[in-house]
């Protein structure tokens, strides 16, 4: 766990300079063992001890598939039926800390698994200290060797939006897409069919970005914003209460806020600026795209996205455990375009509309909503 000391944290405590080199790259148990030895030798000040203890707590605080709390998180998210086999779990536990060390991330989260026809992609994300900064995405086919993916760009999104269907599972696979392009040649304008090759890696990047922007969520109070700008993990977050956990408004999208500025002043007056700085799920379009359930006899609240089926968010109320995982085919839920929403119900009752035109109509209307984040960036 060779993470460097977060500057804001150390500033608050008077500017500790960093960990002794001996502690780099060791697990928490090894570290505490070293510490006791150091303490006995009188080389370890209580202040450093405090730093370490809070750092350990911090890394466990947001159990979003953190490497340390991976097992518990996987167990809690298993209600959806898809998870990881034991060998994958073991490989993850071994390889994620190595990734953290090599790429010098603050935290490495296991994002999920995209099912392909031939093979599955296992996705992990590395976070820096500012929680809302763009994350680095890595993928692997065997949970052991991880490759970094390029960051998502607008043109990638546009390019890959034409590709439909399931992932192959082979990162070098290329989709061919023919398009008509207008080509000017010497005054003549004619259309020519151009075959565009789209790599599956590109598609992977854009899909992950879409899913993150659309449905990655976090409970209210888990992050807080300092006046200086960076977003930190809230160490004193004790979890939502049971009544709060059942409301959609207690969960935020884990991305830059989009709808926040559209709120009226009256609404904003009730918000706490240090906690309420992200969009809540309440006003998501389409409505009803989240399913909230209590599992394990009310001891766990599980949110499942209907827009991207396969995204499961879990939170144990009154505890710090929370996290989300995506296991699915990376296909947007078509069911949501049909009759289940309030709007859909109304339209569904009118006869004479065939199914195909009906779904097309809604699809056209809802397309821009799939990229809420990218529209405003």
């Amino acid at each position: 766990m060779g993470a460097s000391v977060r500057p804001s944290f150390s500033e608050g405590l008077g500017g500790e300079q960093g960990w002794p080199e001996a502690l780099r790259g060791r697990g928490p148990q090894a570290v505490s063992g070293i510490l006791t030895a150091l303490r006995r030798a009188g080389l370890w000040s209580p202040r450093r001890q405090l730093l370490l203890a809070t750092w350990q707590a911090l890394s466990r605080a947001l159990g979003t598939m953190d490497a340390e709390s991976l097992l518990l998180s996987l167990e809690l998210a298993s209600g959806s039926g898809q998870g990881l086999s034991p060998d994958r779990r073991a490989s993850l536990l071994t390889s994620l800390p190595l990734v953290k060390r090599d790429y010098r991330y603050d935290r490495v989260l296991f994002w999920g698994r995209i099912l392909g026809l031939v093979a599955d992609y296992y996705i992990a994300q590395g976070l820096s200290e500012d929680q809302l900064a763009p994350r680095k995405t890595l993928y692997s086919l065997n949970c052991m060797e991880w490759s970094l993916l390029p960051p998502a760009t607008e043109e990638m999104m546009a390019q890959t939006s034409v590709v439909k269907g399931r992932f192959m599972g082979d990162p070098s696979h290329e989709y061919e897409h023919t398009e008509l392009q207008k080509i000017n040649e010497g005054g003549k304008v004619f259309e020519e069919e151009v075959v565009v090759q789209i790599k599956e890696e590109t598609r992977l990047v854009s899909i992950i970005d879409q899913i993150d922007k659309a449905v990655a969520i976090i409970p209210r109070g888990a992050l807080f914003k300092t006046p200086f700008g960076p977003i930190h993990v809230n160490r004193t977050f004790e979890g939502l209460s049971l009544s709060e956990a059942k409301k959609l408004s207690s969960y935020f999208h884990f991305r830059e806020p989009v709808q926040l500025k559209n709120k009226t002043l009256l609404e904003k007056a009730d918000l706490d600026p240090s906690l309420d700085f992200m969009d809540s799920l309440e006003h998501d379009i389409p409505k009803g795209s989240w399913s909230i359930q209590m599992e394990r006899g009310n001891a766990l609240v599980v949110l499942r996205s209907l827009l991207w089926p396969g995204l499961t968010f879990f939170h144990a109320p009154r505890t710090k455990n929370c996290g989300y995982i995506y296991v699915g085919t990376a296909l947007q839920g078509e069911e949501l375009k049909a009759v289940n929403t309030g709007l859909g119900n109304h339209l569904g009752l009118s006869q004479g509309i065939s199914d195909s035109t009906f779904s097309n109509w809604l699809e056209m209307g809802s397309r821009p909503l799939h990229f809420p984040g990218s529209e405003h960036t």
Binding site: G83, G165, E238
Partner: protein, 643 residues
């Protein structure tokens, strides 16, 4: 807490009587003070009061009334805080008025040296008094203070009394033993000369303390009081590394203050559903324990219908699919409960269907021979009742026609004949399905599925809400509620996806049946006793090694084809309809589906099925035929599609 005296009169008169009585008490006590009786008690009391008192002594306060309220509120708390309240009281009592002023420097020293013990002794007295009874605590404190610290009486100006006879006493003369025994003797202030010099510092200190004593907006707690509570708590509990857990202690103390746990009789209302669920699930566990007396019935154990859910879950987990292990165990117990309740021959955990508000756990069972549920008979009666309704309508229509010539023409449309549902234990209704939302809740039986439900279920796509009686609002309209829709989906899923390795099941050796059923195929299979497993390599390489062992559902909605028009001819007795029936007969063909035990390789869209070897094996991943670009979602049309 004692009643806050409302009159600004010197309470010296009302409590004087008490005081006098207590004076004698005090005298007696004070005489015995040098004895170690009190120090014992003093030792029990932590050093908090002394420190706190010294702190308070350092900081003078102008907010006497505040100090009073400070003292008043905590006394409603528990003992510990009451004890603190005492100190608040004491502290409040200590606060000098600004005009009094006294050198603050000397005071703490005196407090620490000797006053410490005295303070603790005072505290001990307070405690004693508390334990004896809480009658007008304020007055007791007041009197005790008047007794033990006559020099502090000058600070005792809760009511801004100026005519108090003790108003001139100074605190730092307490080390003089003579003063202790002569409380009413007016003291003298040898250090008054130094007071004017210390005023600016005093003022600053008083300001600081006043600021700290401001009550917070959210709850009636001031920082000062909170810090006092926090330090008291730390000193009481003496945790290992207080600095590292300072913040959480802070939060806890604040929360305790604002939300004291007063109610020990009622449960936390928020946790009520959790406890209920836990109770129900406890019943699950206890059932298994109740079978201890039945150890003689070990013979039946081998024949029990309860499936080995844990074993299945283990294998599924290797594939990365499944619920967590304790959830699987609870499902196992719930299935056991089901087997005990119903006359079940075979039972299997079919799976879990996720819903919006709740999810469904589905169990696939078959009853013992001859054990038909009454529910089936009821359902049949209802169906017959429905059919009987149609006939009278037609008859009425005919009568109208004869009477009136000028009538709105009757619609010629007749609803298509209702295809009868399959018998129990055959086709789509081969098994019975029970559902429950969570292990521990009662199992509900799902009705049999009818062909029209399957046909409609193919056309719609709806989420399940989790409530079996919820209506299914869709277009085209679905005949039934969510229970029917669930059952239809279960039937479709079972028919399409239940597969087994080639050779695991075989047909029974009854060749005569094949001819009789007219090409509809066999509908029963049995386990092959001579099955030797197929090596993993072969299983992964091609899909031909896997076969469906559930019957295919025809487009009609049934597994075995039924000519709907034959039924019409039997039921219709009116001559007019015969012609129409003849017209309709032309378009009906027998529907044929793939027979049982057809390999997967003949499935429609089989190019897209994938087979993956387990991660632990060294089998290289197979590659299916690459899909032709553009990668479209349209399924190539095929004569057979397992829907």
């Amino acid at each position: 807490m004692g009643d806050p005296p409302t009159d600004p009169e010197p309470p010296s008169q009302p409590p004087s009587s008490r005081r006098s009585s207590q004076v004698s008490q005090r005298r007696g006590l004070e005489l015995s003070r040098p004895q170690p009786a009190f120090p014992e008690e003093a030792e029990q009391i932590p050093l908090d009061p002394s420190i706190l008192q010294s702190n308070r002594g350092i900081l003078a306060s102008q907010a006497n009334l505040q100090g009073w309220s400070l003292g008043a509120s905590p006394t409603q708390q528990e003992n510990l805080t009451m004890f603190q309240a005492e100190e608040a009281q004491l502290g409040g009592v200590e606060y000098p008025s600004p005009n009094m002023g006294f050198p603050s420097e000397l005071q703490p020293q005196l407090y620490l040296e000797e006053g410490g013990i005295q303070a603790t002794q005072n505290a001990g007295l307070m405690l004693q008094q508390l334990r004896r009874g809480q009658s007008n605590l304020f007055q007791q404190l007041e009197s005790a203070y008047l007794e033990t610290q006559p020099d502090l009486l000058g600070q005792f100006n809760m009511y801004q009394r100026d005519d108090l006879q003790f108003s001139q006493h100074e605190p730092y003369l307490r080390d003089e033993p003579t003063l202790q025994f002569s409380p009413s003797e007016p003291g003298f202030t040898p250090f008054t000369l130094e007071v004017p010099e210390r005023e600016p510092l005093e003022l600053a200190v008083q300001n600081a303390k006043a600021y700290l004593l401001q009550t917070s907006v959210s709850c009636s707690l001031s920082l000062y009081e909170h810090l006092a509570n926090l330090l008291t708590k730390i000193l009481d509990q003496r945790p290992e590394d207080p600095l590292s857990i300072l913040e959480s202690l802070n939060r806890t103390t604040q929360r305790e203050w604002c939300h004291p746990k007063l109610d020990t009789l009622r449960d936390d209302p928020e946790m009520q559903p959790t406890y209920e669920m836990a109770d129900r699930q406890k019943a699950l566990f206890l059932r298994s324990g109740g079978g201890e007396g039945q150890q003689e019935m070990e013979e039946e154990v081998a024949e029990t219908a309860v499936p080995n859910v844990m074993e299945t879950a283990f294998y599924l987990e290797q594939a990365g699919v499944g619920l967590s292990s304790d959830e699987s165990f609870r499902i196992f117990l719930a299935l056991k409960q089901l087997v005990e309740q119903q006359p079940i021959h075979t039972c299997r955990f079919w799976g879990k269907i996720l819903g919006l508000s709740r999810s469904y756990l589905v169990a696939e069972v078959s009853f013992r021979e001859g054990e038909e549920e009454e529910g089936e008979e009821e359902a049949e009666e209802m169906m017959e009742g429905g059919e009987g309704m149609d006939a009278p309508d037609e008859e009425e229509g005919e009568e109208d026609e004869e009477k009136d010539t000028d009538i709105i023409p009757k619609p010629m449309w007749k609803p298509p004949p209702v295809i009868p549902r399959e018998e129990s234990r055959s086709g789509t209704n081969k098994y019975l399905y029970f559902v429950c939302t969570e292990p521990g809740r009662p199992w509900t039986r799902l009705p049999h599925v009818t062909p029209v439900q399957i046909v409609q279920a193919r056309k719609i796509k709806k989420f399940f809400t989790g409530f079996l009686d919820a209506p299914v609002v869709s277009y085209p309209p679905f005949p039934g509620n969510e229970a029917n829709y669930l059952r239809a989906q279960i039937a479709r899923i079972s028919a399409a996806t239940h597969i087994s390795p080639l050779g695991f099941y075989q047909f029974g050796e009854e060749e005569g049946d094949e001819e009789e059923e007219g090409g509809a195929g066999r509908d029963s299979y049995e386990e092959n006793p001579d099955f030797e497993g197929i090596p993993v390599l072969e299983l992964v390489d091609s899909t031909a090694n896997w076969v469906h062992h559930a019957q295919h559902i025809l487009p009609q909605g049934r597994c075995t084809w039924v000519n709907p028009l034959q039924k019409i001819e039997e039921e219709e007795e009116l001559g007019e309809e015969e012609e129409k029936a003849d017209e309709g007969m032309e378009g009906v063909e027998q529907e044929v589906g793939p027979p049982l035990l057809t390999p997967l390789s003949e499935d429609a869209g089989s190019l897209r099925t994938s087979t993956l070897a387990g991660a632990t094996s060294t089998v290289p991943r197979t590659s299916t035929h690459p899909c032709r670009p553009p990668f479209s979602r349209s399924t190539p049309t095929a004569p057979r599609s397992w829907r």
